[in-house]
């Protein structure tokens, strides 16, 4: 094959851009596809920081400790070798970002500053104010712009991925994509493709995710034959700001800098929170988890808040909210280290968190599950690679805060070179007929949607989907509800057949794109609901009151869903977890590990 292979990267967040940089550096050509200009990708929303065991605080931290915290925090569901590789690489990734000009916060000596995050006792998180994801994304975006100006990268922004083009042997030969302005459906040949399309928040209606995080691309390739692994593991972040249009994240770094979570001890206490004396406040995380306190992992904190609100009925004003309090922290420190998130709270809620405790509640935030990949970031379809939140590899049953940014960049750094190596050994396809047939298939789907004369409004169907998934497939799960949820999903898929597009124009028609995403969301939702129904145990973010313990004997295994096209539904296989480096042990946060 060509010495300068053509690689298509779909998604321009941290994982996609990291892959692009490596490919360009190796002499490959990249076509980069993104729904939004890549600088506007969801990675900008990451706030608190990025983990790396640089051990600059004299605490004796090590990459092995980072590895152990990550595996333990993920409740031993992650295959361990790639997690170890990521933790080993993290310090050099921080160095690279530092060289690229990320304005990380500094110590008085001019070194990188680090703070604490959940699920660890070490100060291991490098940060740029409270907009770390934004700063990291910009650094990679700038390097990619440099390659773009040298002609090594071509960007297709405002394009939506529709499907992979597979030849008669099932090898990926390119993609089919849609121009979101002209609505043209076009095929793009490539020697390999990398899916880096992020999270699936839209499946839950309102989440902390951005609008583009629908999981549509992952779902499309799952329906074409890619395995989807551990879909049932959904992270609900303990501290988000409930909103009309989305749940805005309130970073874990607020607690890393000393923020305390509490509720008034008396139900219905309507006093101004600042006037409630210390002994009438319940710092429940500190009481229940004396060793880690407010910095327990997210699944643990979220369940604790649920317990306080729904079992103890101690939500603020009887509503599902608790206080996240920073008012005791020095204002100068708040401004220097957390300004970005305090500004979000101020702008969207109207109160200044420096003066008054924030009101927060858990919100859907992250999917640990995703496309199944091997240690080279390759999916089971030859020529399709995946990196970032859209794949399942690094976080097991629960992701630790500030590990997502490092897993995105590391995953992209692995996927890019492996895609180039794969492409260099690729034999040419026997024919090119599959390109035309795939384009026609996609055009027919669009044509069918445009003609549909039903009475279902896609945006209303989507609201129902979000409410259903949030109610039954997030923090607390019961088998009966999960099975009913899957039945409701089948009903929604049936109703989807009677959809009616309120916009049939052929220019910048956002409704068509959304409806296609909605179909893919519905198919992927069944993977989540059925996977959750099957797994009769509690592990990390997956919690069933009827099966409250982790069950390593039966469930220390990866869930792998594949799409059975004839039955139009997911089927499941299971695969043992590689625990060759750290033997599984009980996961507790009330005492030191």
């Amino acid at each position: 094959m060509a010495s300068s292979p053509k690689i298509i990267v779909i998604g321009g967040g941290l994982a996609g851009l990291a892959a692009v940089i490596k490919i360009a550096e190796m002499g490959g050509n990249v076509d980069l596809f993104s729904i939004v200009p890549v600088k506007r990708s969801h990675s900008v929303c990451a706030q608190g920081g990025i983990n790396a065991a640089k051990n600059l605080k004299g605490e004796g931290d090590s990459t092995w400790q980072h590895f152990d915290d990550t595996v333990y925090g993920g409740d031993f569901l992650a295959n361990q070798p790639p997690v170890k590789a990521m933790c080993d690489a993290a310090p050099s990734i921080i160095d690279l970002l530092d060289r690229m000009g990320v304005p990380f916060n500094r110590t008085p000596e001019g070194l990188l500053d680090f703070r604490r995050f959940g699920g660890t006792l070490y100060n291991r998180t490098a940060f740029a104010g409270a907009t770390t994801g934004q700063q990291l994304l910009y650094a990679l975006d700038e390097q990619v712009r440099r390659y773009e100006s040298e002609g090594k990268v071509k960007k297709y922004e405002h394009w939506e991925f529709l499907s992979a083009v597979l030849d008669s042997k099932g090898i990926c030969r390119g993609i089919c994509a849609m121009d979101l302005r002209s609505m043209e459906v076009r095929i793009f040949p490539a020697d390999a493709i990398i899916i880096a399309t992020g999270g699936i928040g839209a499946i839950f209606g309102r989440s902390t995710n951005s609008v583009v995080c629908t999981g549509s691309a992952q779902s499309a390739v799952y329906q074409q034959g890619c395995y989807y692994a551990n879909g049932e593991f959904i992270q609900v972040h303990p501290t988000s700001i409930p909103g009309e249009d989305k749940l805005r994240l309130m970073s874990e770094s607020a607690r890393g800098e000393g923020g305390r979570v509490w509720v008034p001890k008396t139900a219905g206490d309507r006093r101004d929170p600042k006037s409630i004396p210390e002994n009438e406040r319940w710092y429940f995380l500190e009481e229940w988890y004396p060793k880690y306190g407010n910095l327990v992992p997210r699944d643990v904190a979220t369940r604790a808040i649920f317990r306080v609100v729904y079992e103890h009925n101690l939500g603020i004003d009887g509503k599902p909210m608790v206080y996240l309090d920073l008012t005791h922290v020095d204002r100068k420190i708040l401004d220097r280290k957390l300004e970005g998130i305090l500004e979000i709270y101020e702008k969207f809620v109207g109160d200044d968190p420096r003066d008054t405790p924030m009101k927060i509640f858990p919100g859907m935030h992250y999917t640990m599950g995703g496309l199944w990949v091997d240690f080279n970031q390759a999916t089971n379809i030859p020529g399709i690679f995946a990196a970032g939140e859209c794949e399942y590899q690094y976080h097991g049953a629960n992701r630790l805060g500030a590990n997502s940014l490092v897993s995105c960049i590391f995953g992209g750094f692995i996927a890019g070179p492996n895609a180039v190596r794969y492409a260099r050994n690729l034999q040419a396809a026997a024919s090119n007929g599959h390109f035309d047939s795939e384009r026609k298939r996609q055009e027919e789907i669009n044509g069918g949607l445009m003609k549909a004369e039903g009475n279902e409004n896609p945006f209303k169907l989507w609201r129902e989907l979000g409410e259903l998934m949030t109610k039954d497939c997030t923090v607390i799960r019961y088998n009966k509800n999960l099975q009913q949820a899957d039945g409701r999903l089948c009903e929604l898929l049936e109703r989807f057949q009677h959809i009616n597009l309120s916009d049939r124009s052929l220019w910048a028609n956002t409704t068509v794109a959304f409806v296609r995403q909605l179909y893919n969301m519905l198919q992927l939702s069944r993977v989540i609901a059925q996977g959750a129904a099957m797994r009769d145990e509690s592990r990390g973010a997956h919690y069933k009151p009827d099966f409250p313990e982790r069950d390593d004997k039966n469930w220390l295994k990866t869930t792998k869903a594949y799409f059975a096209a004839d039955a139009d539904e997911p089927k499941f296989e299971f695969e043992p977890v590689d625990v060759s480096l750290i033997p599984p042990r009980a996961r507790r946060y009330d005492v030191a590990k």
Binding site: V44, M100, A139, V211, F348, A508, T510
Partner: protein
Amino acid sequence: MAAKKSVLFKIKRQANPKAEPRWEEFELPWHSGMNVISSLMEIAANPVTRAGRTTTPVTYDSNCLEEVCGSCAMLINGKARMACSALVDKLEQPIRLEPFSKFPVVRDLAVDRGVLFENLKAVKAWVPVDGSYDLGPGPRMTMEDQEAAYPLSRCISCCCCMEACPQFNEETNFVGAAAISQVRLFNTHPTGAALKRERLAALMGDGGIHECGYAQNCVEVCPKDIPLTRSIAEVGGAVMKQAIGDLFRK
């Protein structure tokens, strides 16, 4: 009865770049916590005008909805700002939504802001690293220098500063405050400074920094409070110095 509880929108619609714009009115039931984006989402779920006529959902750019991706910039009651952080309760009604006036309209409220990304290429807004290999840590930096760089690095490329600038138009080709401020950011970075001369040179010719008329609208509308006028003053001084130096070098 709470009769007042509805929200009135006047939205400028345009089917495509060549179509004539027209206005449509929408009336939505009021509830607490509404912002412009959540209102546009409600219209999409029920695209019927105030007069009861069925219409199409409004096309607009959006993504993060927490004012950090820079997508949803538009004119709201005449002012260039982000729609996600425009809270309905703080806006005068009817709430007028229009696309930016100085960028080509794609459809409705969505415009093409690609010019900023081209400008960032022209001024080489990056740090020229040798490669992505492990080459050890970056240069040390004082807390003071980091605290000066960070605010500049928070630019979300929303283009509000360009929309609001009287000099940003086809006649001047003015590059705009955002790109100039990025020049300041990269020229003050220890490694980024390697391209300082090229960046300043890029700001000298047609549409360069001399087009700035000091109206100060940019700094007023910037949603991230970036000290844009200071950036323009500092970079302007450096451009001038280099231009004079070049004169003597010839």
